[in-house]
Each structure stands twice: as structure tokens, then as C-alpha cells.
């Protein structure tokens, strides 16, 4: 079997597997990073969302042989689970069963990196690839607004620190 080297959450890994193995299964079954979930295998549900160089993608659709960018998974989003999106999620008790939430959180984090102050419509149009069967959508919408505020506050605090 061929081997592939990839960077995940800042660490370098070498994996021996077939070229067509989707990134999802490399993460889950080879690297034991099971925070990224399997839901459909056809990019319909978004449960497998991870970042490739900061962009949210469905890892079930990317063969390992195509990965030449840095991968970030839910395990690597923040060192202490304190990314603004995670803080907002906890503050509002968003998750119910929680299975889709890794994907939701990764998608929301990618959105805020690209668009720090998304409108309600921006949120809806970015997040509509991520299914949630428990029906946490209202709180996801609310939490992304809160995460945007948290992010703004912390960056303005950083600015204040720089200015003093």
C-alpha cells in the first residue's frame, strides 16, 4: 500500500493506505481522530466537516491522495475547547445528541474566519449543508451570532492591549 504524509492539527502523520481512502476514514480509523463523524458518505449531511487550510470541506469526499493542505479537525480547533464558537455553543447549550455538532462547529468557525460579522442570511446559506436531526437549528443560528460577538470582543481586547 502507498504511504501518505499529512499535517493534521499541527502534527505530521504518515499513513499507509489505499489512494482512494477518503480523508474521513483516515482520520477516524487510522489516526483515531473520531471527533469527525460519518453520516452519509455523499456530502449531504456535513457531519464530516473539517478545515483544509481553514476552509470547511466534507472529508468523506476527499481521497487521501488529494490532500496537500493543512487539515484541522474538531480536536485541533482550539487547545482548550475555548474557540469563540465552542464558547458560544456551551453558553447556549446548543448540542442535543451532539453527533452533528463537530461538523456544525467546524463550519461555523470557517464562516467566521471568512466573514467575522455574518448576517442571518449569511449564516443560513453557509450552514445549510449541515443537517441536524435533533432540531438544534435555532440555537445554532443564535450561537453563531454570539460567537461573532465573543470574537469581536476578544480581538478588540487584544487591540486595547497592543495600544497600551
Amino acid at each position: 500500500m502507498p504511504t501518505y504524509t499529512l499535517e493534521v492539527n499541527g502534527n505530521s502523520f504518515t499513513v499507509e493506505c489505499e489512494a482512494d481512502t477518503p480523508l474521513l476514514w483516515v482520520l477516524r480509523d487510522h489516526l483515531n481522530l473520531v471527533g469527525t463523524k460519518f453520516g452519509c458518505g455523499i456530502a449531504q449531511c456535513g457531519a464530516c466537516t473539517v478545515h483544509l487550510d481553514g476552509v470547511g470541506i466534507r472529508s468523506c469526499q476527499f481521497p487521501i491522495s488529494s490532500i496537500d493542505k493543512k487539515v484541522t479537525t474538531i480536536e485541533g480547533l482550539s487547545p482548550k475547547g475555548d474557540h469563540p464558537v465552542q464558547k458560544a455553543w456551551k453558553e447556549l447549550d446548543v448540542a442535543q445528541c451532539g453527533y452533528c455538532q463537530s461538523g456544525q462547529i467546524m463550519m461555523a468557525a470557517a464562516l467566521l474566519d471568512r466573514n467575522p460579522n455574518p448576517s442571518d442570511l449569511d449564516v443560513k446559506m453557509t450552514m445549510n449543508g449541515n443537517l441536524c436531526r435533533c432540531g438544534t437549528y435555532n440555537r445554532i443560528q443564535e450561537a453563531i451570532g454570539l460567537a461573532s460577538e465573543i470574537r469581536r470582543d476578544s480581538s478588540s481586547n487584544n487591540e486595547d492591549l497592543k495600544n497600551t
Binding site: 493506505c17 489505499e18 458518505g41 455553543w89 442535543q96 432540531g135 440555537r139
Partner: protein
């Protein structure tokens, strides 16, 4: 008009007190299952509380599928035990009959009148004790509301006695707070420092519970115990279990559910790298490899000959089989007030027909389990609502005794009744037996999950009614569906020696016997489908998801025929206080009496949902892109609200589950096989389609009701009634997307 007494109020609380007290406070009657798990220096006070030198664990023995039950059960214990919720570990614990759910088969799920008539052979005894630790049907709080508080109070009492002994003071000089005992001299002792003194103290026979005014945690929103894990990807679901040298497997199912295997040829699977072996089980093949992807690829290369379908080949035949018994002779009765036949003979009869399809649970986490067979021991890891059933079938397949089987219940990525079954566990055990010594994780594909389900029943209904002088004079509703209990019985019990009387099965009538309407001539009858159809089982809302749709659409039609406002008509038919309260609440919230602008419309529905009175108003708008869901108002009587923020989440989730079943969902059959294979054919609502949902929590304060299902049943009829108000088109068959375009 003879006034019907509202039946659900009294019985359920009394049962919980009696049986809950029995299982907890005479723990010597049943072995404490925690004893076998304790390490040195730990102690179990009751089967629900473990004290370790470094902390306290609370056993919340109901499975966490997203409903937040473990957090609320832990809060009930913590309230009486006087510990901070943030400081305790909450765990599901081992399977045991000690943790039996005394409420699941009470009168709320199997109607009380049925139980009375069928006698003791039904009700709790419907399932043998191997299956008693169940999570589902909104029952966990009704079962645990008193029991869990008594547990906490008993454990606290034992700790007080331990402190009294250790420090030579009397118990009544002691106080507790935040996991500590306060001694008369002002010193504090942590519970975790009382382990040795507590070791031979027996659980008290009786405990006193805090009056509600003294509650510090219950009644206000608590942080969910599982939230941090679920936001960092570290919560472990069945599909996430990792073990050394684990193998991975996928499942190849017969397209014809339950028909079985004729022959197979796996030689081409061997071309796939990492392929290990193919293992037959009664309804398909488990394909084992060194990762899940290889297993899925190998499965595609296996050539199989399946036995022919045991079920009707087309959807039309399934529908015909459901409708066949309707109106033939006397049905099973849910309601019988006045004389419907006499009225309908004299008056002009309004006749209508309704239908709903099979539905899949479509949990986000596909079915899966991990099993590991070693010498004389089987370990099973699975998100499941029924751990004793997993253990029972695990032992049977591996030919072990039940005490050689350990079941580890993980978080569930959704369940909705699907994980009350054990098919996913059984398949994993078949695989484990074929690779003895190595753990194997068997994950179904989404296609396997949707096409090999245990479905919400397909159902049909016929209405015959009469309206005169603006009153509903007669309401005669006939319901038909495959029997859920007979189907479940075939799966649960066919291999064990339990007789089950077919003739008393009234699952077709679920939710219809205890509605609070007082119509003068009112009859609801059920006619189970005779032919064996697709396997059906429990779902979020169970039988009410079909029957409330029929009933509340019918009543809306009759309100229009009578020239009455649908909400006002319902108020005129109901005396029950909590029912009226939720109706008045949605009336106010939605500004019901104020007309909406052009192109907007609203509809409403009411039901006792499981046992919680619920009223829902759906407001919609015609937009260029289709019908837009504008806003939803829902009022639910929860009896006593323990955690308002979680209740709100559950009710909203239920509403959205209901919207999916109303707008989107349908499982259909073609050429004997289920058609829908993945989310492109079984669409679920997405975030941009979700309206604002306003929840009103009403507290009638007589008893406690579960809320996991409450939002579901009234949604599709409220939406359908709004669609009629907007378009003038009455659609009586779900899903609505077949008749309307939604934005």
C-alpha cells in the same frame, strides 16, 4: 352530554412512588450492580451514587440520545444529596433490572382501558424482565422524578450517619451543602472523606424529600453535563469506540428486509486491500476489513443471491393492505361516547380519507456497535436504549450466559426509538464470533440504515362526521395501520418462551383514548392491518404522529364546515383545565384573533401528546420561492418544569421533527425493496427553512410530564390546516411536499 372524566392525572404518580421506593430503598432485594465495578477505596451508596476518594459519580441509568435526560436525572439526585452538579461525574452505569423503567409500559403507552381489559398479561409484563431498563416514550422523568430524589436523599442520610459515627455526634446536629457535612463545631468534612465510615451503613427504609420551595437546582436551568465533550469532539458514541487491534466492518443487507440469504460469492472482495472476511448472519453479510472504507468497498464486490421478499412488492399493495380492514365490522375502541351511528343515519354525512407513509428515524449516527469476544467473555459497546436486550441477545448468539456479557452504553447520535431494537448489536456479535479474540466495529452505511429500518407505521384513516347548527354532532374516526406491538413482538419475543395475545393489541389506537375533547357522539376505532408489512416500531411521538394528524385535520375540516373558528371550537369542546390553558396560551402568543396580512395564514392543532397537553400554531407565507414557514407558537403543559432551558430545546426539536414528517419524509417500497437510500432521497429540513419557534411552558403542577415527544404530533396537522387557510387546498396525505412547493 355525559362528561368524561380525564383519566391520566392520578395513576402515574402513585405508581412511581410505590415501585420507585421499592427498587431503591430495599436494595437488598436486588443485588447492587455497582458492587462488581468498584475499585478499592470506593463505595456505592444505593445503585445510583458512587463515592470515591477523589469525587462523586451519579448513575443516570437512562440512555442519553440528545434529550438531556442524564443531566436532569443527575440534578434530581444532586438536589437531595447536596452536591454541586458541576463537581459530579454523571454516568449511564451497567445494565441491570435494578434500573427498570416502571413507566414505559404504564397506561400512557398502552392505554389504561386496554390494560384493564387485557389484565395483567399486558402492561409492564408485556416485556419480560430482560428488557426492563428502557429509555423512551417520554417516560424517564415520570419514572425518575421521585425515585432519583429518594436516591439522593438516602445517600445523604447514609453520609450523615457515617459522619455522626466518625465524629461521635448525633445526626440531627449535622447539616450538608456542596458535598460536605457541617459538624456542630463548625468543621466541614467532605463526603469523599467518609467512605470507610459509610461502608456498613444500610440504606434507610424511608427518607424525607425537600419541599419544592427549598429546591436550589431543580426548577432552574442547569448546564448540561455532556456539553463540553460534545463541543470538542470528545463525547464517545458507539461508532467512536477505539480498541487495540480493532477490525472494522460494513454490512450488506438483503434489499428485501428479513428475507434472508440464498448464497453468496465473496471472491472478488479479496481484491480489496485490507479485506479480512465475510460473515453471514440471518439477514445479510458482515464484511470485515482493516478500515471501514475497505469494508464498504469489499461489500460492493460481493455477489449475493437473496431470497425473495416476504412483503408486498409495491407501495400500492402496502397501502391497500392497510386500508383493507377499514370499516369492516367492529374495530377496537379507543373512544365511544353517545351514538354515532344513530346520528349519521339521519344527518348528511361528511366523509374524508387520510394517509401517512412509513417513516425512518434517520438518526445522524448510523446504526453500529462494537463487539469483542474473548475466552468466556463478550464485551459490547453500543449506543442503545435497551441494554438488557443487548446483553440477552449478545449472550444468546455467542452462546454465553448473560453474566459473561458486559454491555457498555455510550452516547447515542440520535435514537428516537430506533435504538430500542438490538439488530445492530446482534450483527456485531455475529462478526465478533467470527474473529474471536479481536474487537470489531460494525458500522452500517446510511443506505443500510434507511433501507433496513424499523419504521414508523404506515397508516390510513377514514372520517365520517355530521355538522349541524354550527356544532359537530358526530365524529367517527376509523384508524388502520400495521400493528406495532405485533411487529415488535416478533422481533423481541419470538425466540423466547413468552406468550403474547394478539387479539388485545391496540397499538393502532395509540394516543386516542385520552384526548380531552367532549364531543356528544364520538367514536374512534382501530383496525390493525392483517397482512405482514414492513417491520414497524417506536418512534419520536409513536402512534400519535399519525393519529393526531388524522384527528386534528378532521376537526379543522369540521370547524370550517360548521363555520366555526378552529381554536374557538376546540375551547368549546374542552373543559380540562390544563388543555384549555395551553389553547389560551397559543391564542394569545399568536395573536390568533388578529387577521394576518395578505399572503399569510395560520393553522392550529391540539392534543394530549403522550400525556402533556400541547397546542401549536403554525404561521406560513406564500413567497415567490414557495411556501415559507414564518413562525411557530407552541404551548406545552409539562406539569412541573425541572429545567426550562432543556425543555425549550426538547420542544423545539420535537416541532422540527414534526415538520420533517409533515413536509419531507417518506419511506416507500418498489419491487419489494425500500427505495430511499440516503439523504438526497430522504430529505431533512435545513437551517434556512427553520422558522422562529416560540415555546410557552405551562405548569399545571399536579405531576410531571416528559417533553421529548411533545412538539411532534401537533405539528403536521397545524401546518396542513395553515396550508388550507392559505391556499384553500386541503391535503389529507403526507408528506406535504408532494402537493406544495416549500421555500
Amino acid at each position: 352530554m355525559e362528561r368524561r372524566k380525564f383519566l391520566i392525572t392520578s395513576a402515574s404518580v402513585a405508581g412511581g412512588l410505590a415501585i420507585g421506593g421499592y427498587t431503591l430503598l430495599r436494595a437488598e432485594d436486588l443485588p447492587n450492580p455497582l458492587e462488581a465495578l468498584l475499585a478499592d477505596g470506593q463505595i456505592a451508596l444505593t445503585p445510583y451514587v458512587i463515592i470515591r476518594s477523589d469525587g462523586i459519580s451519579i448513575i443516570a441509568p437512562r440512555a442519553e440520545m440528545g434529550q438531556g435526560i442524564q443531566s436532569t436525572l443527575a440534578a434530581l439526585v444532586a438536589e437531595e444529596l447536596d452536591v454541586a452538579l458541576e463537581s459530579v461525574e454523571v454516568m449511564h452505569g451497567p445494565p441491570s433490572d435494578v434500573y427498570r423503567n416502571n413507566k414505559l409500559y404504564g397506561q400512557e403507552v398502552l392505554p389504561k382501558r386496554l390494560l384493564r381489559r387485557a389484565g395483567k398479561r399486558l402492561g409492564i409484563e408485556f416485556l419480560p424482565p430482560q428488557f426492563s431498563q428502557l429509555t423512551g416514550a417520554q417516560s424517564s422523568l415520570r419514572d425518575g422524578y421521585v425515585k432519583m430524589r429518594k436516591t439522593g436523599a438516602a445517600a445523604r442520610q447514609m453520609l450523615l450517619q457515617a459522619a455522626a459515627k466518625q465524629y461521635g455526634v448525633s445526626v440531627d446536629q449535622l447539616k450538608t451543602d456542596l458535598g460536605q457535612v457541617f459538624l456542630p463545631n463548625g468543621r466541614k468534612v467532605a463526603y469523599t472523606d467518609l467512605i470507610e465510615s459509610a461502608r456498613d451503613i444500610k440504606a434507610p427504609e424511608k427518607v424525607k424529600l425537600k419541599p419544592r420551595e427549598q429546591w436550589k437546582k431543580l426548577g432552574s436551568s442547569q448546564p448540561r453535563a455532556d456539553m463540553a465533550e460534545k463541543c470538542t469532539g470528545t463525547a464517545e458514541y458507539g461508532i467512536d469506540v477505539r480498541l487495540p487491534d480493532m477490525l472494522y466492518a460494513s454490512v450488506l443487507f438483503s434489499p428485501f428486509i428479513g428475507s434472508g440469504l440464498e448464497s453468496f460469492d465473496a471472491s472478488r472482495a479479496e481484491e480489496v486491500q485490507g479485506y479480512v472476511k465475510t460473515v453471514p448472519f440471518p439477514d445479510g453479510l458482515v464484511v470485515i476489513a482493516t478500515n471501514t472504507w475497505y469494508a464498504q468497498q469489499a461489500a460492493k464486490r460481493i455477489e449475493v443471491k437473496w431470497k425473495p421478499s416476504r412483503y408486498p412488492m409495491s407501495m400500492a399493495e402496502h397501502r391497500a393492505a392497510v386500508e383493507e380492514p377499514l370499516g369492516k365490522g367492529q374495530g377496537q375502541i379507543a373512544r365511544l361516547d353517545g351514538d354515532v351511528d344513530q346520528v349519521l343515519e339521519k344527518e348528511e354525512v361528511i366523509e374524508r380519507s387520510y394517509s401517512v407513509p412509513y417513516l425512518s428515524h434517520a438518526t445522524m449516527e448510523p446504526m453500529n456497535a462494537v463487539a469483542w469476544l474473548q475466552e468466556e467473555q463478550l464485551d459490547i459497546w453500543a449506543g442503545n436504549q435497551n441494554p438488557l436486550r443487548a446483553r440477552y441477545y449478545g449472550a444468546k448468539i455467542a452462546e454465553l450466559s448473560e453474566d459473561q456479557v458486559k454491555v457498555h452504553t455510550t452516547f447515542m447520535g440520535g435514537a428516537f426509538g430506533r435504538r430500542l431494537e438490538s439488530d445492530f448489536v446482534e450483527i456485531a456479535v455475529f462478526a465478533a464470533c467470527a474473529v474471536k479474540g479481536k474487537p470489531v466495529k460494525v458500522s452500517w452505511t446510511r443506505e443500510g440504515d434507511l433501507q433496513h429500518g424499523i419504521y414508523r407505521p404506515i397508516a390510513s384513516a377514514k372520517l365520517r362526521a355530521a355538522v349541524k347548527d354550527k356544532e359537530v354532532l358526530a365524529f367517527d374516526l376509523q384508524l388502520s395501520a400495521p400493528s406495532l406491538f405485533s411487529s415488535a413482538e416478533r422481533r423481541f419475543l419470538e425466540n423466547i418462551n413468552t406468550e403474547f395475545p394478539e387479539q388485545v393489541d391496540k397499538s393502532v389506537l395509540l394516543g386516542m383514548s385520552h384526548q380531552t375533547y367532549q364531543l356528544p357522539n364520538y367514536r374512534i376505532q382501530g383496525f390493525p392491518a392483517k397482512e405482514r408489512l414492513l417491520p414497524v416500531g417506536w418512534s419520536r411521538g409513536v402512534g400519535e404522529t399519525q393519529n393526531v394528524f388524522f384527528h386534528e385535520t378532521a376537526l379543522d375540516e369540521l370547524a370550517h364546515s360548521a363555520g366555526r373558528d378552529p381554536l374557538e371550537l376546540r375551547l368549546s369542546l374542552i373543559e380540562h383545565e390544563a388543555s384549555r390553558a395551553v389553547l389560551e396560551a397559543v391564542k394569545k402568543m399568536s395573536n390568533w384573533d388578529n387577521p394576518l396580512p395578505e399572503g399569510h395564514a395560520r393553522g392550529m392543532a391540539f392534543a394530549i401528546s403522550s400525556d402533556a397537553p400541547t397546542a401549536q400554531v403554525v404561521e406560513i407565507r406564500q413567497s415567490e420561492k414557495g411556501i415559507h414557514l414564518e413562525k411557530i407558537y407552541i404551548a406545552v403543559d409539562v406539569g412541573i418544569a425541572l429545567d426550562p432551558r432543556n425543555i425549550e430545546a426538547q420542544v423545539k426539536g420535537g416541532v422540527i421533527y414534526g415538520l420533517d414528517s409533515g413536509i419531507n419524509s417518506e419511506i416507500s417500497v418498489k419491487d419489494g425493496a425500500v427505495v430511499e437510500s440516503n439523504y438526497h432521497q430522504y430529505p431533512l429540513l435545513r437551517i434556512h427553512q427553520i422558522p422562529e419557534i416560540e415555546v410557552h411552558i405551562h405548569q399545571s403542577e399536579e405531576q410531571i410530564f416528559g417533553v421529548g415527544e411533545a412538539g411532534v404530533p401537533t405539528n403536521p396537522p397545524a401546518l396542513g390546516n395553515a396550508l388550507f387557510a392559505l391556499t384553500g387546498k386541503r391535503v389529507r396525505d403526507l408528506p406535504f411536499r408532494k402537493s406544495f412547493d416549500f421555500a
